[in-house]
C-alpha cells in the first residue's frame, strides 16, 4: 500500500479489489478517482491516446451492481486498467500509435480485452505506444511521445511507454502491454515498474495487432509483482482463436508471487548471464544489478555464471526476423477496408492509393522496418538474412536449454542504461536498437521474462530494471524470484520504489 485511507490512486490493484469487494470503496469511486487523476496529469505525461470515461464508468457501475446483488466478484473486479492501444476494443478507437488507423473503431474485441471485461476489470483507456510497437522509446507514436514521470524530459521506454508511464503517474494501477523484443520489460525497467512477458503462446494474440507474429506476446504491467500475477492469471489461458495458443493450464503465478514474498528463494539456482554485463552498461545499472544478485544470494539462492555465446547475435537476428514478419503483417494496411485513405480522386488507381496512403500513414521507423523486412525476405537474400536469423534463433534456444539444465532462472539487467532523453537516439536507429539487447533472446526463444525494479542508478537517480528469465511454461518462477527480490529491496529501502517518483 502506497498511502492510507481514501487516496485510491496510490493503492495496489490487489488492495483496491479487496476494498471494492468489501464495500469500503465503490468501483465507480475508484474509477472516477483515476479519471480525475488522468484529467489532472496526462497533459504532462501523455500516457493515453484515448480515455474511455463513459465505458469505464459503465463497467464500474456494473461491478457495483453485481456486488449489490451479492454476486461473487473476481480478484481484480472493479480495478481500472490501461490497455495498450495495440489490442482491438469494439467500438473504442484503436490506432496502434499510427496515423493509418486514426479513427478506426474495431468491430470486435481482442481476446485479452474480452477476458478483462469478463473478469470485471475496468478498461479506462488506451495507452500510447511506438507506432505498431516498433520502437524502444514511445517517440515513434504518430500522436507524440509519452514522457517518463521520473523525468519528463526522458522517454518512458517503448514500445509500451504509455502503459508503463500510466502506472508511475498513478493514472491506473494496472496496464497491459505487448512484448515483441522487450516492449513490456524495457519500459518497466526505465519507469521502475513490473512488466512480464509470459511464455509465448500463453496469452492469446487474437486481437493483438501483429508486429512480429512469432515474437509478440501480451502481458501484464503493474506496480507490484503480486498485482502483475493477478492480472497474468486473468489474461492467460488457451484460446481456440489463436493457433499458437498453448492448451495447458496457466502456471500458478499468484501462488508463486505470494510464496516468493513469504519464503524467499532459498535453494533456487540463479544463473547470471555473462553476455549481459560489462562494456556498454551504465555503471549505476551494473551496480544495482549486482547488489540485487548478492541480495538473492544472501536469501539462500545459489548463484552461478552462465555463458550463452549465441546471445551476442540475438539482436541482429531479431532485427531480421521482426522486420520480415512485420513487412508481411503490415501489408494489410492498404486503404481498402479500414483506416486512412489518401489520393482517392477517381484518377489514382487502387495500387497508387495504397502507396500514397502508406506513405502518408506510416512513420519513418515503420517504413524502415517494412523495407528492411522486404529486403531480408527477397529472393537472393532470404538465406543470408532471414534464413540465417532463424538458425541463430535455434542456437539461442539451445543456449537457453543448456542453461536451464543448470539453473532455475537466468538474470541480467533489463536494459543497458536508464531512461535516455527524448530525441537523443531518434535518428540513430542502430543505437536505439541497443535498448532491447538483453530482452530479445527471450522473445526469440519463446520463454518467459520479467523486469522488476532494483533501485535507482546513483549517477542519475533513475530506475534500474532487474530481468528474470524462466523456461517456457515456468512463468511462476519469475514471480517467485521477482516477489522475493521486491520484498527484500522494499525491506532495505523501507518503502516501495515509486514513493520516490517526483510529484507531477
Amino acid at each position: 500500500m502506497y498511502a492510507s485511507g481514501s487516496d485510491a490512486i496510490r493503492r495496489t490493484a490487489a488492495d483496491l479489489a479487496a476494498a471494492i469487494a468489501s464495500g469500503e470503496l465503490s468501483a465507480v469511486e475508484v474509477t472516477q478517482a483515476h479519471l480525475d487523476r488522468i484529467a489532472k496529469v496526462d497533459d504532462k505525461v501523455k500516457a493515453f491516446l484515448h480515455v474511455d470515461a463513459q465505458g469505464a464508468l459503465a463497467a464500474a457501475a456494473a461491478v457495483d451492481a453485481k456486488r449489490a446483488k451479492g454476486e461473487r466478484l473476481g480478484p481484480l473486479a472493479g480495478v481500472p486498467l490501461a490497455l495498450k492501444d495495440v489490442f482491438t476494443t469494439r467500438g473504442v478507437p484503436t490506432t496502434c500509435g499510427s496515423r493509418i488507423l486514426e479513427g478506426w473503431l474495431p468491430p470486435y474485441d481482442a481476446t485479452v480485452a474480452r477476458r478483462l471485461r469478463e473478469a470485471d476489470v475496468v478498461i479506462i483507456g488506451k495507452t500510447n505506444m511506438d507506432e505498431f510497437a516498433m520502437g524502444s522509446s514511445t517517440e515513434n507514436s504518430a500522436y507524440g511521445p509519452t514522457r517518463n514521470p521520473w523525468d519528463l524530459e526522458r522517454v518512458p521506454g517503448g514500445s509500451g511507454g504509455g502503459s508503463a508511464a500510466s502506472l508511475v503517474a498513478f493514472e491506473a494501477p494496472l496496464a497491459i502491454g505487448s512484448d515483441t523484443g522487450g516492449s513490456i520489460r524495457q519500459p518497466a525497467a526505465v519507469t521502475g515498474t513490473v512488466g512480464v512477458k509470459p511464455t509465448y503462446g500463453s496469452v492469446s494474440r487474437y486481437g493483438l495487432v501483429a508486429f512480429s507474429s512469432s515474437l509478440d506476446q501480451g502481458g501484464p504491467c503493474a506496480r507490484t509483482v503480486l498485482d502483475a500475477a493477478l492480472l497474468h492469471e486473468i489474461i492467460a489461458g488457451h484460446d481456440p482463436l489463436d493457433s499458437t495458443s498453448i492448451d495447458m493450464p496457466v502456471p500458478p503465478v499468484v501462488a508463486a508471487a505470494r510464496r516468493g514474498a513469504d519464503e524467499g528463494v532459498r535453494g533456487l539456482r540463479i544463473g547470471v548471464v555473462k553476455q549481459f554485463d560489462g562494456e556498454g552498461y551504465a555503471p549505476g545499472v551494473r551496480q544495482r544489478f549486482h547488489e540485487s544478485v548478492e541480495l538473492l544470494a544472501g536469501l539462500g539462492a545459489e548463484v552461478v555464471e552462465i555463458d550463452a555465446p549465441s546471445f551476442d547475435h540475438a539482436l541482429p537476428a531479431y532485427y531480421l526476423i521482426a522486420p520480415s514478419e512485420c513487412s508481411s503483417n503490415l501489408a494489410r494496411f492498404d486503404a481498402m477496408r479500414y483506416g486512412l485513405r489518401v489520393g482517392d480522386d477517381g484518377v489514382h488507381s487502387a495500387e497508387e492509393v495504397t502507396a500514397l496512403t502508406r506513405e502518408a500513414g506510416f512513420g519513418p521507423e515503420v517504413k524502415r522496418r517494412i523495407m528492411l523486412g522486404t529486403y531480408a525476405l527477397s529472393s537472393g537474400y532470404y538465406d543470408a538474412y532471414y534464413g540465417q536469423a532463424q538458425k541463430v534463433r535455434t542456437l539461442i534456444i539451445r543456449d537457453f536449454e543448456k542453461a536451464f539444465e543448470r539453473v532455475d532462472v537466468l538474470v541480467s539487467p533489463t536494459t543497458p542504461t536508464t531512461a535516455f532523453k527524448i530525441g537523443e537516439r531518434v535518428d540513430d536507429p542502430v543505437s536505439m536498437y541497443l535498448a532491447d539487447l538483453c530482452t530479445i533472446p527471450t522473445n526469440l526463444a519463446g520463454n518467459a521474462g520479467m523486469s522488476v525494479p532494483c533501485g535507482l542508478a546513483p549517477e542519475d537517480g533513475l530506475p534500474v530494471g532487474f530481468q528474470i528469465l524462466a523456461p517456457a511454461l515456468q512463468d511462476d518462477r519469475l514471480y517467485r524470484v521477482g516477489a522475493a527480490l521486491e520484498a527484500a529491496l522494499e525491506d532495505r529501502w523501507g518503502h516501495p520504489i515509486l514513493e520516490e517518483v517526483p510529484a507531477l
Binding site: 499458437t244 481498402m336 479500414y338 477517381g346 487502387a350 502508406r358 506513405e359 517504413k367 523495407m371 538474412y385
Partner: protein, 102 residues
C-alpha cells in the same frame, strides 16, 4: 561501397507499396545500409547443420472442427464493418480502379 543503394531502396519501396519522396530515399538508403551492415553479423555464427526455427513453441496439428461459427466466435455486423471502410457502396467495399488483372 554501401550494400544498399538508393535504387535498391526505391525497389524495396515499390515492393512495399510506399510512395517515398526523393528526400526519404536518400535518408533511408543511408540508414538501411547501416542497419543491414549491423544485422549482417548473423552470418558470423557457424550454422551449417543447424535447422531454422520458425515457431518458438513446438506445436503441430492445431485444427478447428468444420463447424460454422461456434460459440465464442466473433460475428461481425456488416453495417458496423462497412461504416469503418474508407468507402462503401451496395453492401460492398468501394475501392479505386484496379490495375492489372485477375
Amino acid at each position: 561501397m554501401p550494400s544498399i543503394t538508393r535504387e535498391e531502396v526505391a525497389h524495396l519501396a515499390k515492393l512495399s507499396r510506399l510512395e517515398l519522396s526523393d528526400a526519404e530515399l536518400d535518408h533511408f538508403a543511408g540508414q538501411l545500409d547501416a542497419i543491414v551492415s549491423a544485422v549482417a553479423r548473423v552470418g558470423e555464427l557457424p550454422t551449417e547443420h543447424v535447422p531454422p526455427t520458425s515457431h518458438p513453441q513446438p506445436l503441430t496439428n492445431v485444427f478447428r472442427a468444420d463447424i460454422v461459427r461456434p460459440a465464442g466466435t466473433p460475428v461481425l455486423d456488416r453495417a458496423e464493418v462497412l461504416a469503418q471502410a474508407p468507402a462503401a457502396e451496395d453492401e460492398r467495399f468501394r475501392v479505386p480502379r484496379i490495375l492489372g488483372e485477375d
